[in-house]
Symmetry: C2
Subunit: 104 residues, 2 copies
Amino acid sequence: SRLEESVKKIVTENPVVVYSKTWCSYSSEVKSLFKRLGAEPLVIELDQMGPQGRQLQKTLERLTGQHTVPNVFIGGKHIGGCTDTVKLHRKGELRLLLSEAGAT
Amino acid sequence: SRLEESVKKIVTENPVVVYSKTWCSYSSEVKSLFKRLGAEPLVIELDQMGPQGRQLQKTLERLTGQHTVPNVFIGGKHIGGCTDTVKLHRKGELRLLLSEAGAT
Ligand SMILES: N[C@@H](CCC(=O)N[C@@H](CS)C(=O)NCC(=O)O)C(=O)O
Ligand SMILES: N[C@@H](CCC(=O)N[C@@H](CS)C(=O)NCC(=O)O)C(=O)O
Ligand code: FES
């Protein structure tokens, strides 16, 4: 669909993309982890887009199998949520992924 | 108001009370921390009560100054949110509060 194509385009053209909700602490945590690592993620706040936000969340679920926020992509690859991103960081793999994607 | 009285009654009659939202990971984190410590909190899911949930959240804001979830009480005392509760645990003070309140 058109929406799926636009998500694919956004996640391949931007090194780090976070689909988020403004009032969600897990979304804030992952956004601030990226900032601490020197990466400036493209953040899309699903709750600030009216009905399109819900449509977009359904599209993300179709594309990734994940209906929850935050929904994180690095270098066009689907990473998962907050706990997935933090686990990668603890294992020392996040910095590598960010530099390979040209985010840092 | 009647709602304020009912909140005061609930938090004094139950050793641990957590006002939560079912889909919020910070709410889940604080609920599982209490379970791990052997306390069975009274959990009130604000998103499962229809319009009363929003009313209740406003009442909690008036009583505690906190509009966010999770909203935690131990022994009738307002503790705060997830990060406040985790901080108390890290300092070794949460177990004491729970046993003093008769939760463990
Ligand atoms: N482990 C996941 C949890 C994600 C999660 O449960 N997110 C919540 C908000 S914190 C959500 O989107 N809930 C909506 C739902 O469950 O329908 C992560 O770390 O991102
Ligand atoms: N530091 C607080 C954060 C609480 C918080 O921001 N909760 C969010 C959900 S995770 C909330 O209630 N957001 C609603 C809002 O900001 O209006 C805690 O640990 O509980
Ligand atoms: S809504 Fe509470 S952590 Fe996401």
